[in-house]
């Protein structure tokens, strides 16, 4: 392998590694980042006259390792994305990122899981009521105080009847929306900065 090829290979492997570490970001953002970092390396290399392998190693070392740089992009970008999104998946991804560094983030992550799970359960109960009206209901009985779902207590009474269908579907959807809104709103307080390096 010639000298130029070796140097080129080193640059490529650095950028490949950076791309891999940036995996979770949107592809257009990743290519923009790689373009900028590639420009940095090339320009530093040109300024150094004849580019030896040692010189390239020094340039990359001063730049910082991909593992060191990539998280600095991710923490910020994921949370920024989540702040602007209505998708529970994107919002929860941002909250999850926050939860890895802060107790607040963790608490909200749990809240998100509970909110979405309850919303799903409500909507599911509403949907199943259509297919299995005798077994699914909002049960109030002597043993279980209140229970939405499948009834196992013969003494329990279905208080909603067919109303469970609209209540479940709409209630579930509203809960989904409210959870998303609340989580997004709290994300504006997420002060996620560069983790440890400056």
């Amino acid at each position: 392998m010639s000298h130029e090829e070796k140097v080129q290979q080193k640059i490529d492997s650095y950028l490949t590694q950076l791309r891999r570490s940036l995996g979770e970001l949107p592809p257009d953002e990743v290519s923009e980042i790689l373009k900028e970092i590639r420009g940095h390396i090339l320009e530093r290399a040109e300024a150094s006259g004849e580019l030896t392998e040692e010189r390239l190693v020094a340039i990359l070392k001063a730049l910082g390792s991909p593992e060191q740089i990539a998280p600095l992009y991710q923490t910020d970008a994921l949370v920024a994305q989540a702040r602007a999104s209505l998708s529970p998946r994107v919002v929860m991804r941002g909250i999850h990122r926050w939860s890895t560094i802060s107790a607040w983030g963790f608490g909200l992550f749990v809240l998100g899981v509970v909110g979405y799970a309850t919303g799903s359960a409500l909507a599911l109960a509403g949907l199943l009521k259509i297919f299995s009206p005798a077994r699914i209901g909002a049960w109030v009985g002597p043993h279980a105080i209140f229970d939405i779902g499948v009834n196992s207590d013969p003494a329990a009474r279905d208080v909603l009847g067919w109303w469970l269908v609209p209540v479940g579907l709409i209630g579930g959807a509203v809960l989904f929306l409210v959870t998303t809104r609340v989580l997004r709103w709290t994300l504006r307080f997420a002060r996620i900065r560069r983790p440890t390096t400056a």
Binding site: A62, D76, T196, T197, A198
Partner: protein, 123 residues
């Protein structure tokens, strides 16, 4: 580039200080000129000792742009690869001015507090 002793007990404190100042220093470097990343880095090298790894400046630029303090565009260069130029937005100029005023007052007060310590050490 400044290397710090990893085992030094003040290392973490220094890192925090650097992180805190970096945003202002980057905004300040864009006060007069439209610059690309490496330009900004060269100015930071010449005028401050704030940076540990050069690569950190790029994510910060990304965040400053998302926050609306700066804007950017790609410009073709003679170097054969495009450069991403950054400049302050109107909001960014106001922010840089506010931060600078705060920093100046802050530094003067800290300085008056630590002068006795430095004077004693010299003796």
């Amino acid at each position: 580039m400044v290397s710090t002793d990893r085992s030094s007990p003040t290392e973490n404190w220094e890192t925090q200080i650097r992180k805190g100042w970096l945003e202002l220093v980057i905004l300040a470097s864009l006060w007069k000129d439209k610059l690309y990343g490496l330009d900004i880095l060269r100015r930071l090298e010449a005028h401050s000792e704030l940076l540990l790894a050069e690569g950190t400046v790029y994510p910060i630029l990304g965040r400053l742009k998302r926050d609306g303090w700066i804007d950017s565009e790609w410009v073709e260069s003679d170097a054969g690869h495009p450069r991403k130029y950054y400049w302050l937005t109107a909001a960014g100029r106001r922010r840089a001015a506010t931060m600078s005023r705060y920093a100046s007052t802050f530094l003067a007060r800290i300085d008056s507090l630590i002068q006795p310590i430095l004077a004693k050490e010299e003796r």
